[in-house]
């Protein structure tokens, strides 16, 4: 469903990615491992259309994303290091804003349900700026429950989550994968990824290589 062909990227003169090829099918989860600064977040930013692809091709569900960015944005969801949350809004308001931006017509009870599902029901009407790191992360991830995207891009989704949060996330991702979604995630956390069926890849020197034995050659 996702196809990358010869993707390259550079910042100024610094070449970060040099020819990434990747294919991800429905129901598949690809995990990107790699050293700090190796370009995982950059790759995800390209996939999310935040960065424009200058060299290479990117197809999502047979859409040429380089040309039809708007259509692709409809079909994918990106949750990065940043939570994209507004501190002065409550969780309900944050999700409502998100839904409106995506053109989703959701009732408030649907939103509260999503907030419950990530264990934040007691803080549903408190401005997000006072939230703890893990609570913010949970709320950011709660969007996945609402958006039902084709492709999910996650940058270090496990960081800041407690054990319960990790359990919840993995259960959610498993359900999502079974329903035919695709996931590409960057992580430093093979122990937590282990609960998911996934294909590990290693990013180094701008090249992506699939890791044959996830349990052994993984970087951690």
């Amino acid at each position: 469903m996702v196809r990358l062909e010869g993707l390259q990227h550079r910042f100024g003169q610094q070449k970060i990615l040099q020819g990434i090829n990747l294919e991800v099918h429905r129901g598949e989860c690809v995990v990107l491992y790699g050293a700090n600064g190796s370009g995982k977040s950059t790759l995800l930013a390209l996939l999310s259309t935040r960065l424009t692809i200058r060299v290479g091709h990117y197809f999502l569900d047979d859409i040429d994303v380089n040309r039809y960015g708007d259509m692709a944005r409809d079909r994918l969801l990106f949750v990065g290091h940043h939570t994209h949350l507004y501190g002065h809004l409550t969780p309900v308001e944050n999700l409502l804003f998100f839904a409106d931006l995506r053109g989703l017509d959701l009732s408030e009870s649907r939103l509260r349900q999503a907030i419950d599902a990530v264990g934040l029901s007691r803080s549903a009407d408190k401005p997000v700026q006072w939230f703890s790191a893990g609570m913010r992360k949970r709320l950011a991830l709660a969007r996945m429950l609402l958006a039902e995207p084709l492709l999910l891009l996650l940058d270090e989704p496990y960081s800041a989550l407690d054990a319960q949060g990790v359990g919840w996330l993995n259960a959610m991702l498993n359900r999502y994968l079974e329903s035919g979604g695709a996931v590409i995630m960057a992580s430093h956390d093979p122990e937590r990824v282990a609960a998911l069926p996934h294909r590990p890849h290693h990013l180094a020197r701008g090249q992506l290589s699939s890791m044959a034995l996830p349990g052994e050659s993984e970087p951690c």
Partner: protein, 221 residues
């Protein structure tokens, strides 16, 4: 589509407008600008009429400039701007939403400052109030349009405030001139208004046509 724009504007100003305190704080803001003006220039009554158009426009410009720092402030925290750009609405709509929020607050200040000035400086032109407000509003459209674009452009720039003033003031010179002249025309019995109004409208059209498009270009990375 428009709902998204409306939402963005709502998010930006809701927090301000929901609390009634904003209205009164805007009022006091307007008053203190007038007090400064009085302390700085001490105009007598006749002078006050002559300086009124300039005062109104200088305040508008100042309010806009001060407000521009805020337009993208909420988006600075925690990658929120990035989040906006990843929404599937066209970028023009995002721009429109941002512009709308900014426009509303600036119009509010204008609405407050006009009657205040007239009372505090004894200017007797109450019948002209709607005309003057119309002119101010017309100018504010283009002013905030260009301002919002510049605010987007200078996100994260060094000494951003100076830069904003440096870019906005010369480019809006025609607006300022025609706005001042139009208001002055309204205040004088035999004043000329129509050509200045035309200029204002041309300016608005140019900016409101160009800026959403420019914004789309700007945020491509």
């Amino acid at each position: 589509m428009l709902k998204a724009a409306y939402r963005i504007a709502w998010k930006d100003v809701a927090g301000d407008l929901r609390r009634r305190a904003t209205l009164s704080s805007m009022l006091f803001f307007a008053i203190s600008v007038l007090v400064v003006f009085q302390a700085a220039f001490e105009p007598d009554r006749k002078e006050a009429v002559r300086l009124l158009p300039g005062l109104l426009w200088a305040t508008t410009l100042f309010t806009t400039l001060v407000g521009l720092g805020r337009v993208f402030q909420a988006e600075e925290e925690d990658g929120a701007f990035e989040g906006l750009l990843l929404a599937s609405v066209p970028r023009g709509v995002i721009f429109f939403g941002k512009w709308l929020g900014n426009l509303l607050l600036t119009l509010l200040v204008e609405l407050l400052i006009l009657p205040l000035t007239m009372v505090l400086f004894n200017v007797d032109a109450w019948t002209q109030v709607p005309a003057i407000l119309g002119i101010l509003g017309l100018g504010t459209l283009g002013l905030t349009g260009l301002g919002t674009l510049l605010a987007a452009m200078t996100r994260g720039a060094r000494s951003r405030e100076t830069l904003l003033a440096l870019l906005l003031l010369p480019l809006t010179a025609p607006l300022l001139i025609s706005g001042v002249q139009a208001v002055a025309g309204v205040l004088q019995p035999d004043g000329v208004v129509a050509p200045w109004l035309k200029l204002l409208i041309i300016f608005d059209l140019v900016y409101l046509a160009m800026t959403p498009w420019a914004f789309g270009w700007l945020v491509e990375e």
